[in-house]
Subunit: 202 residues, 2 copies
């Protein structure tokens, strides 16, 4: 058997689809999301949809107003975006330091599998999937180092930053940057790993 396929609840799957739609730009900023329409699209009732909208609002992808509804957030203010990059670096540098000497063969295989997936998505031109896999790579490290708690802090920052990027900036270098990170971790060169992370986060 290959990778253990994670079981996702209906709501998590719906949230994933909407996140993709927003990150890909298919759903543009200020687009109003109608609960009834979404319910029909996903073949559920409005209940689970409301749950998903609440979650995405807390993640910063949507803005909600009482008795009015949810709509897609606008891109981050450039100053806040710059601050976010700094915070993200701080968190992931922390993660790398914490993981020094604690990574096993299995961990490295997982990371390399993720990179392989990134590579495939890049080759296939699936840029939205590429972005999600990119996030998954970093999330793996952050979770390993700081657990669910740190992911909770880290995730809204990352997902919100991603809204601002356009695929134009995507090149094969993205995949290579992640290989650099893993290679540095493999030889337990924390300093090099931190530098690789810093180069990747921008």
């Amino acid at each position: 058997m290959s990778q253990p396929q994670k079981i996702l609840s209906v709501r998590e799957q719906i949230a994933d689809v909407l996140r993709s739609d927003i990150i890909s730009g298919e759903l543009k900023p200020n687009t109003k999301l109608n609960e009834q329409q979404l319910a029909e699209r996903f073949g559920t009732s409005r209940g689970p949809i409301r749950d998903v909208l609440l979650k995405l609002t807390k993640e910063g992808l949507l803005v909600s107003r009482n008795n009015v509804g949810s709509s897609v957030s606008s891109p981050l203010n450039p100053d806040v975006q710059k601050l976010s990059i700094g915070i993200r670096r701080k968190i992931e540098e922390f993660a790398v330091k914490q993981l020094e000497g604690r990574l096993t063969i299995d961990h490295f295989r997982q990371l390399e599998d993720i990179i392989e997936e990134m590579h495939d998505h890049f080759e296939g031109g699936r840029y939205t999937e590429l972005t999600k896999t990119d996030i998954a790579f970093h999330q793996y490290l952050v979770e390993l180092a700081g657990g669910e708690d740190l992911v909770n802090i880290w995730y809204p920052i990352v997902i919100r930053m991603r809204m601002n990027y356009k695929r134009i900036t995507t090149s094969i270098k993205l995949v290579e940057e992640h290989r650099d990170i893993v290679n540095a971790l493999k030889i337990d060169d924390t300093k090099a790993a931190i530098n690789a992370i810093r180069r990747n986060i921008k």
Copy 2:
């Protein structure tokens, strides 16, 4: 008329009460929250309760498992806590820099009203309310500088940190520290304001 009292939806009020219960320690870590019981306690149905539990989970105060339920989170790992302090400082220093020369008389009066409220809560020994007012003070600055987006990033960090503090550490110095911040802002001494913020966040 005094301060304009903000209108809160039913769900926001329920969320506030539960946040207080958790921060105050009345609800201890790992306590299981039963939807039906909460619904009866607040005189609503389970629907709004579920919304609130979802929100608090995204804030990090609760941990949820599918088909099992939500329970109160455990205190942060000390390393993550330290990291959180650093991030919070970074955000609030950013806020102070952004606000340089942009604060009006009205803003200062708002801030001083909040400090007055902190003072009253301190005198009355209402430490949970004191904590919430403390958060409100900082949120006011963060929101002013970075808007809803920055608050979204900042809030889960702060609220989660607060779970770890016990009232033992509370003294009148807490109130004075906030006066220092406002006084520095008043004379537009950003450097002093940043120092005051750094002293206060720990």
